[in-house]
């Protein structure tokens, strides 16, 4: 099947997200007539879609994309004994907001824990990356690394914060994927425009005040059961179902005579066409039979450890090809997330890295060879980093003060190393970025102005909008 990418965001016009009542309320208030965005870029667009790779649990920044040899040098010493003792100056620890009071986790860890793996330089940019991510390292010159992230939740509610910009103790607001879908609409006739794969825990919804129509649709990488109700839950022949859809279409069409000008009726007819297409398109997208052996190998499908995530990423690419706008992947099972290495960090991180390293590099390379990396943004993120000090004998605790994420693809200046933490990886020392700066940058590249993504009656704070990170833009 040739992917069909419709040039106009027709979903914006034809499918009702349920925001009509807000538009009406604003009009009746005598405000300047408010309308939802029309789906067209507000500023020049550099990327059309996002593949969002979220590592749940908290990836150690020091053992991934921000290695800190000083940890090995001062191993076993307390932070207070090093020249960097000011890192724990209470003034500098103030911005964190505790949710889980008296929790065993999320504490200051004083005794420095050495790096659990080596690192080396990659690419022309010479970025240091740990030995657990050699394949991503081989793509270094495509990537802009941001080594100066911070957040305020010291527990896994930070997952919600990374997606929405708001701390768990504040009201739930739409996540980035919801804003993107709301702002740009869909590019496909056949698939939902905002998809989530993988486990979520702290908040299973995205749309919030934008409405459930902007929640991600959960897909499973299983051609037989990829999406709730995508296939009939009973025996029915293809022909019979076609006849059923024909009849529905005809009767709803005839209904126009009784209810002329009813927009909901027209939207519903359109939604049936989409639904019919989705029934074929979703399982077809999940089916990797047509993928070449080379492609599969590129993603690491031949490695048993990497295979599940590799499969998801091939599907992600196929979804991207078919016009899905925001593809959100959550890696790492369990309520807190698998990367949460309070103990046994070496074993945990090395094996999780093996699950994702090859598939992610495969995705970048595959997108590039297909010419899709030019207008696809790939984001690698996690909710926080891990402490320079050890927890127990062989783990690291949650570290919201400093951590790393990276982006590649449409509009990103590859081979950029942006920002940085101090010698211990504790605090950002240049260009600190709150999580919404990542959102702002993504929205900017997608051609959206976050300040114009507002709806009446819902005040957004300046912090919610974030600031674009100009240094990583091509």
């Amino acid at each position: 099947m040739t992917p069909r990418i419709s040039p106009t965001p027709f979903l914006r016009r034809d499918i009702l997200g349920g925001l009509g009542s807000i538009a009406m309320a604003s009009m009746l208030r005598g405000e300047e007539a408010w309308m939802p965005p029309d789906g067209l870029p507000m500023i020049p667009q550099r990327a059309k879609r996002v593949i969002w790779l979220f590592m749940r649990g908290g990836v150690s920044h020091m053992e991934s994309f921000d290695p800190k040899p000083m940890l090995t040098k001062y191993a076993g010493k307390s932070i207070g004994e090093t020249p960097y003792k000011d890192a724990q100056n209470p003034e500098k620890l103030k911005k964190v907001r505790v949710v889980v009071v008296n929790d065993a986790n999320g504490q200051q860890r004083n005794v420095i824990y050495p790096l659990q793996t080596g690192f080396k330089r990659y690419g022309q940019c010479g970025v240091e990356i740990s030995d657990w991510f050699p394949n991503i390292g081989s793509c270094a010159d495509e990537i802009a690394f941001i080594r100066s992230m911070w957040t305020t939740d010291d527990n896994h509610g930070a997952q919600v914060q990374f997606h929405s910009g708001r701390h768990m103790l504040e009201p739930r607001v739409p996540t980035l994927g919801a804003w993107v879908t709301y702002g740009l609409g869909s590019m496909t006739d056949n698939l939902p425009s905002f998809i989530n794969m993988g486990p979520r825990f702290f908040d299973v919804r995205d749309g919030h005040y934008l409405g459930p129509a902007y929640d991600a649709v959960n897909l499973k990488v299983d051609p037989k059961n990829p999406l709730t109700y995508a296939a009939p839950e009973f025996q029915i022949g293809r022909q019979q179902q076609e006849a059923q859809f024909d009849l529905i279409h005809r009767l709803n069409g005839l209904n126009a005579e009784q209810y002329p000008g009813d927009k909901t009726r027209a939207a519903r007819m359109k939604s049936y066409q989409l639904a019919y297409n989705m029934q074929t398109a979703v399982p077809e997208t999940m089916n990797l039979d047509a993928e070449s052996a080379e492609t599969k190998k590129l993603y690491g499908m031949d490695d048993k450890v990497a295979e599940p995530f590799a499969r998801q990423l091939i599907v992600a690419r196929r979804l991207a090809e078919r016009g899905v706008r925001f593809i959100q992947l959550q890696h790492g099972d369990g309520a807190a997330g698998a990367w949460d290495s309070h103990s046994g960090l070496k074993k945990n991180h090395s094996s999780l890295a093996q699950q994702v390293d090859k598939p992610i590099s495969g995705l970048l390379k595959d997108l590039k060879q297909r010419g899709m990396l030019d207008d696809t943004l790939v984001v690698f993120a996690t909710e926080f980093g891990r402490t320079p000090g050890s927890q127990g004998s062989d783990g690291r605790d949650h570290h919201p003060y400093g951590f790393s994420v990276w982006m590649a693809g449409g509009g990103i200046k590859g081979g950029t190393i942006h920002g940085g933490t101090d010698e211990l990886g504790f605090h950002p020392v240049e260009h600190p970025h709150y999580v919404t700066d990542v959102h702002a940058t993504i929205l900017h590249l997608l051609g959206l102005d976050p300040h114009r993504l507002e709806i009446p009656g819902r005040k957004r704070l300046e912090r919610d909008f974030g600031k674009v990170i100009p240094q990583i833009l091509a």
Binding site: E233, A243, Y259, A275
Partner: protein, 807 residues
């Protein structure tokens, strides 16, 4: 920012300057407040200026200087209070000033905020809603649509009042007599069914944020266990047509109003629902915000940090309200017939820390309390029609000591009896002894609780407890010795021996301290509190603050309460509310077009004992409710003048809420189980459960896959449902087992009909009407194309837009 050279720019003050100043400046320099003695709401006021004189004079004018200066201390709007003027906006402002700041001659300043329409008591017009609407239509030259077919009206009232569509037999019966008295009879019949309470409880569960407990694994973080008791109270109260004013008072303060009325204590689930383990401020913020929004249409969330930008409500008003809730806490009381709180219990509120002071949080920062002045409990001053004077309430002993509830002893004994019966059945002598001693212990301990302070009885209780402990230790030892080869057997036997030794020592010197019967479960005050389960005694008085608040809300003199309710109910009958934002009756909501209708209904509602059934009857028996919802055949002039139906010349079509879709399908198939009430059901069983949808567990963690597709209610807040149209809805109705089984069951009841009769019956059953000629023809052809498979045809009709629509 540098000022641009004065360009010749034609600027329209009314269109370009005034809205900008309104948005950025009026909150502090308008009718609401006049900081620095300055108002910007008329050009005259700007010329007059404030403490620093005329703001339009000077070069550059003071106004321009203040919005452009690089000095953050001086720049307006101040940081955090609004965004800076853009270059373009500055240019326009500059051009306007340069042109001499032209403004209309008779420019009116902003109205006094206290004069806002919603803050004034509603007055009855003496006219019915229909005559008020008709007058306005006539004045505007608009022609109303004729009546809808009676069967469509019938489907509306069935779905609106009981949430289930009429069956063909009910349609036929109604069509025989569609007179006004027959319609009234029918509406009264529907309002008298228990399904009415379920249907409308679901609406109020949206507004009042019904939410079953959830957390992380077994840790309860939000809401309370067994919150369904509150849901059942809502259903029962609606069915009994309890006055809305009484409902409010019971939800906020049943424990203070009539502490011994256990049925009504269930109402306080409204407050228990906002319990949050980790943060007291978050808990109280939600309580304040949603109490105010749900009952009063007041938006309070912004007042937590600063004075309201639109409404005359100050930050101190927020913390005065917090002081009302400051002593509030939550516990489970026992539910008659069950002594295990995991299995059942009554979530209820009570005042715990009576003397806890409330301080204002500076800029809403809970870590920065203004300790200079504790806040006194109170309501927003602008709406204070009588002084707020809470009176402390003396509580009965059963409130402060739940163990004294009459059924506690009986239930504990029953549990022990059951243990004894089981032991006897098994013939295990040790177990029999143990159960017998448990019975004795329960009685002794209870006697000691009753005879507070009697030392001899307390000693007897301590002894009984020690004896029971000894028997238990003996049992443990027997168990350990019976398994000599088990892992760590030796160690286990040793431990058991030591424990028995200890227990025997206790029997020889039991003292006079004992463990009371567990008759309540206090919710943890934060995750660090471990002794909460041991607390069995509570304060003997309650502050009466919540009762005072509730009585102020439910007072006829409160201009908001009844209006907000009428607007909510109106929105659910007519699709579009009279006041567009159902949760905000503040100054951002201009006086509604149909304010006379709203006010007449509001006064009528209060005069009729705040009766919801009166309100439903009035609305669904109105001319408007009978009107056709279609544009077809509409007067072209009317359609052109008011295409969006603001003047209500036709009825509005609506989509079924998610629960209605599912319940209706089950009802059509004849499988709907109409059992009322009870514990919330696991959503995993939702696919096969025949119960009504309001009974499924609802919280932020679980998602009911069918309901989710049709815009299920958001438990965090849901003042109105969304009505989206997305392809997943089509998939759910074409592919779910639910829709197919419904079609199968209907088909089984229609096997004997010939094709044309079958099609008519199918339309009647699913859409509540007969097909038009063209529909009949298309249906016959479609039926043949489906090889006359009745079930497939019926399922197609379930997917007709008119099935999910209230036409």
């Amino acid at each position: 920012m540098a000022l641009l050279p004065t360009a010749v720019l034609a600027v329209d003050y009314e269109k370009e300057i005034k809205p900008l100043l309104k948005e950025r400046c009026y909150a502090c320099h308008g009718a609401l407040k006049q900081k620095a003695g300055l108002r910007l709401d008329t050009a005259t006021a700007m010329h007059k200026g404030g403490d620093n004189g005329n703001i339009l004079s000077g070069d550059p004018a003071l106004l321009l200087e203040r919005v452009t200066t690089a000095d953050k201390e001086d720049r307006m709007p101040p940081e955090g209070e609004g965004s800076m003027f853009t270059t373009e906006q500055v240019a326009k402002l500059q051009a306007w000033i340069a042109a001499g700041a032209p403004a209309p001659a008779q420019e009116k300043p902003e109205d006094d905020p206290r004069a806002h329409w919603a803050y004034q008591s509603p007055t009855a017009s003496g006219h019915s809603m229909d005559s008020l609407l008709a007058t306005r239509l006539a004045a505007k030259g608009l022609k109303p649509q004729p009546e809808a077919a009676p069967e469509l009206w019938l489907r509306r009232v069935y779905l609106d009042l009981i949430g289930l569509p009429p069956a063909p037999v009910q349609i036929h019966a109604f069509l025989k007599d569609t007179s006004a008295p027959a319609r009234l009879r029918l509406v009264d019949q529907l309002l008298a069914t228990p399904q009415y309470g379920e249907r409308w409880a679901r609406h109020f569960m949206d507004i009042w944020r019904y939410c079953d407990w959830y957390g992380l694994g077994a840790q309860l973080r939000h809401s309370q266990k067994h919150l369904w008791h509150w849901r059942d109270w809502i259903v029962e109260s609606l069915n009994a047509d309890k006055g809305y004013d009484q409902m409010i008072v019971q939800m906020l303060a049943a424990d203070e109003l009539a502490p011994e009325n256990r049925d009504n204590l269930r109402a306080t689930g409204f407050l228990a629902r906002s319990y949050y383990l980790f943060n007291r401020t978050t808990w109280l913020d939600e309580t304040i915000e949603h109490t105010c929004r749900a009952f009063l249409g007041l938006t309070m969330q912004c007042v937590k940090c600063h004075d309201h930008k639109y409404d005359p409500i100050e930050q101190t008003d927020y913390y005065r309200m917090r002081a009302i809730f400051e002593p509030l806490h939550v516990r489970l009381d026992p539910w008659e017939g069950e002594s295990d709180f995991e299995k059942n219990g009554l979530p209820r509120v009570f005042d715990l820390h009576l003397d806890q002071l409330t301080y204002r949080h500076v800029r809403g920062d809970e870590k920065n309390e203004d300790k200079s002045r504790p806040m006194t409990p109170g309501v927003p001053r602008v709406l204070e029609f009588a002084s707020f004077e809470p009176k402390a309430v003396k509580l009965p002993p059963t409130s402060s000591h739940p163990v004294l509830l009459p059924f506690v002893l009986k239930d504990h004994l029953a549990a022990a009896d059951q243990q004894l019966a089981q032991a006897q059945k098994s013939g295990d002598a040790g177990a029999v002894k143990l159960a017998g001693l448990r019975l004795a212990m329960i009685q002794a301990v209870y006697a000691a609780d009753l005879a507070k302070g009697d030392k001899a009885i307390a000693q007897a209780a301590a002894l009984a407890e020690a004896r029971y402990g000894e028997a238990k230790a003996e049992e443990e030892l027997v168990k350990a010795e019976a398994a000599p080869t088990a892992k760590d057997a030796e160690k286990k036997i040793k431990t058991a021996r030591e424990a028995l030794e200890k227990a025997r020592t206790k029997v020889s010197a039991p003292g006079d301290t004992y463990t009371s019967l567990t008759a309540s479960l206090k919710a943890q005050e934060g995750p660090g509190e471990n002794g909460n389960a041991k607390v069995q005694a509570y304060p003997e008085i309650s502050t009466g603050r919540r009762l005072a608040l509730a009585q102020w809300i439910a007072d006829k003199r409160n201009p908001l309460t009844a209006r907000v309710l009428v607007n909510h109910v109106w929105a659910r009958h007519f699709g579009v509310p009279l006041v567009a934002d159902v949760g905000d009756f503040g100054r951002r909501s201009l006086a509604p077009l149909h304010q006379d209708v709203l006010d007449s209904l509001t006064t009528g509602f209060m005069e009729n004992g705040w009766s919801m059934k009166w309100l439903h009857r009035t609305l669904v028996l109105s001319d408007l409710y009978r009107r056709n919802s279609s544009n077809a055949g509409a007067d072209p002039q009317t359609l052109a003048t008011d295409p969006d139906n603001h003047f209500l010349w036709r009825m509005n079509p609506r989509r079924m809420e998610s629960q209605l879709v599912r319940d209706s399908l089950l009802h059509l198939s004849g499988k709907l189980d109409l059992t009322l009430g009870g514990p919330s059901l696991d959503p995993a069983k939702a696919e096969t459960s025949p119960r009504r949808s309001l009974y499924f567990i609802q919280n932020a963690d679980v998602e009911h896959r069918f309901l989710a597709v049709f815009d299920n209610s958001n438990v965090l807040e849901c003042y109105r449902r969304n009505e989206s149209v997305v392809p997943q809805q089509a998939l759910a109705l074409t592919n779910s087992g639910l829709s197919r089984e419904c079609a199968n069951a209907l088909a089984a009841s229609m096997t004997k009909l010939d094709a044309p009769t079958f099609i008519d019956q199918a339309f009647l059953a699913i859409l509540g009407r007969l097909p038009l000629a063209a529909e009949r023809k298309a249906s016959l052809e479609g039926f043949h194309a489906l090889n006359e498979d009745r079930s497939l045809f019926l399922q197609a009709l379930i997917n007709h837009n008119d099935f999910v629509t209230l036409r």
